[in-house]
Every structure is written in structure tokens, then in C-alpha cells.
Amino acid sequence: MAKNDMKKDVAVPALGLVGMLRWAWTQLTSMKTALFLLLLLAVAAVPGSLFPQRSVNPEQVTIYLTNKPTAGEWLDRFQLFDVYSSVWFSAIYMLLFISLIGCILPRVKKHAKALRTPPPRTPSRLNRLPQNGTIEIQSALESGLSDAEIARQAAALLKKRGYRSEARTEGPTPSAGAERGYIREIGNLLFHISLVGLLASVGIGGAFGYNGQRVLVEGETFVNSLVSYDSFKPGTWFKEDSLDPYSVKLDKFNITFDRESTTHFGQPIDFTAEVETRRSPDAEPQKETIRVNHPLRIDGADMYLVGNGYAPVVTVRDGAGNVAFSGPVVSVPQDGMYTSLMVIKAPDAKPDQLGFQGFLLPTAMTDETGFAISGDPNAINPQLQLNSYYGNLGLDDGNPQNVYVLETDNLKELNNRNLDAGGIVLSAGQTYKLPDGKGSISFDGLKRFIGVDIAYDPSKRPVAIFAALSLLGLGISLFTARRRAWVKVKTSVDGSGREERIIEYGLLARGEDHGLESEAKELRKLLEQQWPAVERAGV
């Protein structure tokens, strides 16, 4: 490979602007710079694993900034929470890819030319090559073959062995020149070009995509439109009309827990969501499943199962006996036994708004200390343990609130285990009357919910293609040998006046080639087969 002409010594040029630019370009596209930028890229990627990243884990970043405000602010200033979109990281890989393109273009041109030029001249001394040898042949002489004829046959033989060969019959010593492994450089170029293609696809494709999240309780239907998402992140060039109007209804969610292992008892071993999908509003419904590692694939916009839990169905009535809230409440699992945190807000309750917070215990038990815990992740004896509040939920001032958090600052406690009224303990089917005639709450049943990610990324296919091509190119480039071979034919007369005909051969590797020696042996065997060597008895 042309490493020598890439390796120009660094010399400060006394040139004009054009000269300066030319010099800078030569430097940027040199192998040394490429190596430096590659190593720099490796180092630059590391901080992204040491500090929480906004793109991966925004909550962790917030926590970090709260806990270590001074250090956090400095880290943020240097974009250490956004490493992979930071100015410095981008600068490194952009430079690397410019260097790469600047490297590929001349190599493509050079190799295109190499493919059209005949194999290199036969060197005058083959015995200087790393692999070489001579064979004295006899029979060919007797059969009346000329030196030129033998050179032509040698060229044909090399061609059969996968070399591009040329017979050189002019001049006093006819020879054959050959080269093979042009595909090595093609593979190398394919690899590097595919890397450019890969990066371009990631950048362009990603901009048209989107991803979003949604929590779906059993019985609920998701319709693919912006309002249906709990959260949504569009790419730069996303257009709303690119959302396909499909719908997905969650029929049932099943979990299987390990019931046999003593060491891993209760560990989940399967999650399956049974869904009914419609590709368009008037399409036939289809029964499908979503499982971990098996997303629901709908026209490129795929739905992934990423979370699950219980949603107790609750009815809250206010002091006047009117229903203030009714429906499933998504609760957030806190441990392997699905002890789940839940919050209920009933802003329509009159005269006072009502709020509840506490836990769902799928299998309620009391531990040694008399504390209520969940003993199993399955809902064998579901129980709600709640505190209740009344007053102003703070929902009316228009500020967005987290549905999983109850702001208790402006609320008065009604039920709590520290109060006379105690906490609320409800088994399935039971109703509890709130103190002071504030209303009631009933636990009507239990459903499961799933959390899904919906992602559309048009770069997937081109990225996959370029990745496959780069792997192919890499394999070709690393495992094919580029080598040159020459065969020379000489006739001379020895002391006794006997004509001697000698075939001389030599091989040269271009780049890494540990197989040159065995290739030389193989070539020798073929030559000897074609023109058997002289039996030299007694020599």
C-alpha cells in the first residue's frame, strides 16, 4: 500500500495561501493524522461512560446537577453530559471522516489505474526477492520449446493460479510477470467507503425518524397520532403526516415467573403482551403479540415492550356521592415483588378535591415486624395501602404536574397510620368510607399495564447494508494477499558444451503476507510439474 507517499515529512512551507491549504490537506490526509484522530476518538468516547448522558438518562443528569452543582456546571459547560453530540466529539469524527474521504479519493484513482496497467517489470535479479529459486529443466529443451514459448506457458500457468500475468518474450531473457490480490485494495476501499456511508445514513436517516413512549392498560387502545403519546421525540426533519394511522389494543398481558428455582424464585422468565392491531382504521383486526426481543413491527414504526406493572381499578366518590374518579390507576413497581407506588388524584371531587397516595401489594402479607409487604409478584391477595388528603391538588394553575407524584403542600391529611382514622387498607371488591363524610374509595379490580416505546428510524436499512459491506470489505482486505511473481527463462552452455535451461522464479509480497513461503513452494511444484526438473544423479 502506498504508505510511503502518504508519509511526507513535516516541513514548514514558505508558500502562499494555496500552498498552505495544500500543505494542510496533505497533513490531514496522512496516515499519521488518521491514526492520531482514531486514537483521539477512542479517548473522547470514554467520558460518555463516566458521566450520565442526557440522551440516555436525563434524570441522572438532573440528579448529578443537584448533588454537585459546582462541578456539574463546569462539566455541563464542557458538554460532558452530551458527549456524543458535543462540539469537540463531533469535531474529531468530522475531521476523521474528512481525512478518510481525502484518503479514499486518491486511492480509488490510483487503484483504478493499477487495475488497467500490466503487472510490473521483471526485476533484473530475482534472487534478491524474499522468496526465489531456480529449476533446471531438461525435457522442454528436447521437445523443442523455445524460451519465449516457455515464458508464455509460465504466464498461462500463473493466470490459472489467479494472477494477472503477462508474457514478455522480447529481449534476450524472456519472462512472465504477474500480480494477484488486487481485490485486497478493493476490499480496503469498500470498507472505508462503507464507513462513510454508515455515518451518512445514521445522520440523514435519523433526522426523519421519531420515537415516543406510551403506557397501555389492558383494554386500552393506542392510535398512532401525536396526542396518543405520553412523550414524543421527533427527529429534525420529522413531519406529522409520516405517522401511519394504525392502532393497537392491549387485550392481555402475561408474565411467567420462575416457580422452580430455589435461588432465583420469582424471577420473571417471560413477558407476553397479547394485542389486537389494525394497520389502518378500516383494516381487519389482527391478533399479535409483543415480547421482549420481539417487537411488534408495523411498517417500520415498531413497538417495543419496555416496562409493565399493575393498574388497580378504583372508584372515588365525593361527599355528595358523585363519582369523582373511576378507572385503572397505573402504579409503579418498586421491587421484584411488584410492591407498587400509586397516586390517585380526583380533582372533580366536591366540595374538596381528593388525593390518595400509597402502595399496591399484589400479595399482601405481614412480615415479622408487623409491616405489610408483598410476598409474591403475582396478584394472589391484592391490597391497597393508602393515605388520603383533601384540599387543593394544585392542578388548576395550569402548571404541568407529574401524574405519579402528589403535591401534598396545600393538602390536609385525612387518612394516615399516624392519625386516629388510620390508613386505608382495601382488598379487592371492598369500599372504604372516608372520615368526615368526605366520600369513599373502592377497589374494584386489578389490571396490568405495559410500557411501550414506539420508534421509527428510516436509517436502519441503509445502516445495515453499509455495515454488512464494511464487514465484507474488511474480511477481503485482511485475508487476501497481494503478491507479485515473476518467472524467467535462461539458456546457457555449460563447460562441457551441454545446453542448460534454467527457470528462475521470485515472489514479492505487498503488505502483510505470511503465506508467501507456501505460495513459493506451491509455485515451484507447479513449475516442476509443467517441465520436470533434471535428474541430477550424483550431484
Binding site: 504508505k3 440516555v56 428455582s261 426481543n293
Partner: protein, 342 residues
């Protein structure tokens, strides 16, 4: 059970644990035998040298000359730069014992790994214990297979030492009874992605050993050239720095292609599991770093002034990143890859 999970064979799992332990003991003995071979053979070489020197001195004294070094390298009889077995290789009894012990260890551990897979009804690489026990098995197996053709016994102390450490790390650091896979790992990509990753890491382990020896040999040769005494006579059993470098390069090239495939397969799996093929999760970051470092290594081999010791350093740094990725990242950094389930 409603789904078709095979039942766990606890008894077979315990047999597997037992055989892992036996294998660890056998490897430890092989390690001792390899070390003994190094010590013994270097003494043997010194004796041959001394004998040659004495006889040559006699000749030279008779001829009136003094102070010429021995004419032939005694170790050439025991090792050569193409790392093939020589006629005198058979003299190394300790090394022969060490190799036999290594094979015994491979058989015991092979049984243990397969038994664990059967006991769990799945491939035996689903947690730290299994990555380490299967990984160390592959290192020992690949090393033993290469030994059939090439005389790499000089690396035995190093490689089998690493295998012993890995296996002890598995049994003592992460003892894990046989169990089902968490749903996140139930995918045929586990079979493809992780097996190639473990195999690539095993190859990188072997080249790491070679590159370290290459550097040591390099320094030793420099010191000798500067006229300093030979502080590491056992290194005379090790081939020259250049053949070590070339052989390591050949293996590194294969391992790099495997690692490239590992990263790609990981991306495909991530797409199926999490809805994105690349998300800079900590494990992804480190796999990327490792890939770039080894790409740098391959580049360095084609860059003027970067071959030899410098590229060996890159290979060593790459391996340290692999170790870091496997230990610190798995244990202390939490990301999606901390296989906690859904």
C-alpha cells in the same frame, strides 16, 4: 408452567461446578509445570552455553585468541523464530507435562461448560460466571489447538496463568447457580453475539500475552545490545520480538473481524430489544472504544514509525479496555446491559 421453559437440572449443575473446580486445580498445576519448564530450560541453555564456551575457549586458547562469544545460540536448539517444534523440543519434559495437564484441564472444563448448558437447557453464557467460565475455556482450548501446530509453549505460563485467574474469578467472584435466562437475554442473538464476543476476547487474550512478551523481548534485546547483562535468561526460550509481533498481528486481524461482527450483532439485537441499534449505553461506549483502539492498532501496523513496540502497546491497551469493559463496566456502571430484567 405455561411456557415451554425446560426444567433446570440442579444435580447436573452441581456436577458442572465440581468439574470447574477440578479444572481450576489442574490448570494451576499446568501453570506451575510451565513455570518450572521456563526455569529449567533456561538453566539447560546456560549449561549448554557454558559447555560450548569452555570447549571453544580451549580451542581458542590453543589458537591464541580470547573473549569471543559462543558461535551458536544454544536456545536455537529448543525454540526458533517460526515457532515450530524442533528436534530437541522433546527434551523439555516439564513442558510436556504442562501441555498434558492443560489438555486434561480443557477436557474437564469442556465437560463442565457443556454440562452447565444442558443443566440450564440453553447456551452457557448468560451471566458473569458463565462468560468467564466459557471464556477461559475457549482461551485454553484455542491455545491447546494452536500448540498442536506451533510451539507456543513459552507462552504457557502466561496464558494458562490467565486462564486460572479467569476461572478462579468466575468460581469465587461470581458464583451463580444454574437458572433460566431473564427475558431480556432470551434471544438467538445471545448465541451469536455473545459467543463471537467471547471467542474474540479469547483471541485477544492470547495476542495480549504475545505482545507483552514482544515488548519484554524488545527491551531485553536493547539492553543486551547496550552491553548489559542478561537479567531475564528465561526469555531466551521466547522467539524474537519481530516474529511475535507478526504472529500476534495475524491473530489480532481475525479477532478484529470477529469484534466488528460482535458490535454489529449487538446493534441488531439492541434494535430488536430496545428499539434503537445504537444508544451510547456504557457497554456500547466501551465496545466502540475497544473497536477503535484495535482499528488504530491495524492502522499503526501500516503507518511508518508505528510498527513494533508502539503497535504492541496499542494491542495491549485494547486488551486492557476489554478487561475494563468486562469487569468495571459490568459491575459498577449501570446501563441497559446490567441484566436486571425488564
Amino acid at each position: 408452567m405455561e411456557n415451554n421453559m425446560p426444567t433446570i437440572n440442579v444435580a447436573l449443575g452441581q456436577y458442572s461446578d465440581l468439574f470447574m473446580l477440578l479444572a481450576a486445580i489442574v490448570y494451576a498445576s499446568a501453570f506451575v509445570a510451565f513455570a518450572w519448564d521456563l526455569a529449567k530450560s533456561s538453566k539447560l541453555i546456560q549449561e549448554i552455553d557454558a559447555a560450548t564456551l569452555a570447549s571453544e575457549k580451549k580451542v581458542l586458547v590453543a589458537a591464541g585468541a580470547v573473549g569471543t562469544p559462543p558461535s551458536s545460540r544454544a536456545e536455537d536448539e529448543l525454540v526458533n523464530d517460526s515457532m515450530t517444534y524442533t528436534a530437541s523440543s522433546a527434551k523439555r519434559m516439564a513442558a510436556k507435562i504442562a501441555v498434558s495437564l492443560t489438555w486434561l484441564g480443557v477436557l474437564l472444563q469442556g465437560f463442565a461448560v457443556v454440562a452447565r448448558g444442558i443443566a440450564a437447557g440453553r447456551v452457557p453464557w448468560g451471566n458473569m460466571y458463565e462468560f468467564l467460565s466459557t471464556g477461559s475455556f475457549l482461551v485454553a482450548l484455542v491455545f491447546s489447538l494452536v500448540l498442536l501446530k506451533k510451539d507456543l509453549r513459552f507462552m504457557g505460563t502466561f496464558v494458562i496463568g490467565l486462564v486460572t485467574v479467569m476461572l478462579c474469578g468466575a468460581t469465587m467472584g461470581f458464583p451463580t447457580p444454574v437458572a433460566h435466562l431473564v427475558p431480556a437475554l432470551q434471544s438467538y442473538w445471545l448465541i451469536i453475539h455473545v459467543s463471537i464476543a467471547v471467542l474474540a476476547s479469547s483471541l485477544f487474550t492470547i495476542t495480549f500475552a504475545m505482545n507483552v512478551l514482544q515488548l519484554v523481548q524488545h527491551w531485553r534485546m536493547d539492553a543486551l545490545a547496550a552491553g548489559k547483562p542478561d537479567k531475564m535468561p528465561f526469555m531466551r526460550l521466547v522467539p524474537g520480538a519481530a516474529p511475535l509481533e507478526n504472529f500476534a498481528y495475524r491473530i489480532n486481524a481475525v479477532a478484529f473481524v470477529m469484534w466488528t461482527f460482535t458490535v454489529m450483532a449487538g446493534a441488531i439485537w439492541a434494535e430488536a430489544a430496545w428499539g434503537r441499534y445504537w444508544g451510547w449505553d456504557t457497554k456500547e461506549v466501551w465496545s466502540f472504544v475497544i473497536w477503535v483502539v484495535y482499528a488504530g492498532y491495524l492502522h499503526a501496523r501500516a503507518t511508518g514509525g508505528w510498527t513494533g513496540a508502539r503497535s504492541a502497546w496499542l494491542s495491549i491497551i485494547g486488551y486492557l479496555c476489554i478487561v475494563f469493559n468486562f469487569t468495571v463496566v459490568n459491575i459498577y456502571f449501570n446501563g441497559l446491559h446490567s441484566y436486571a430484567g425488564l
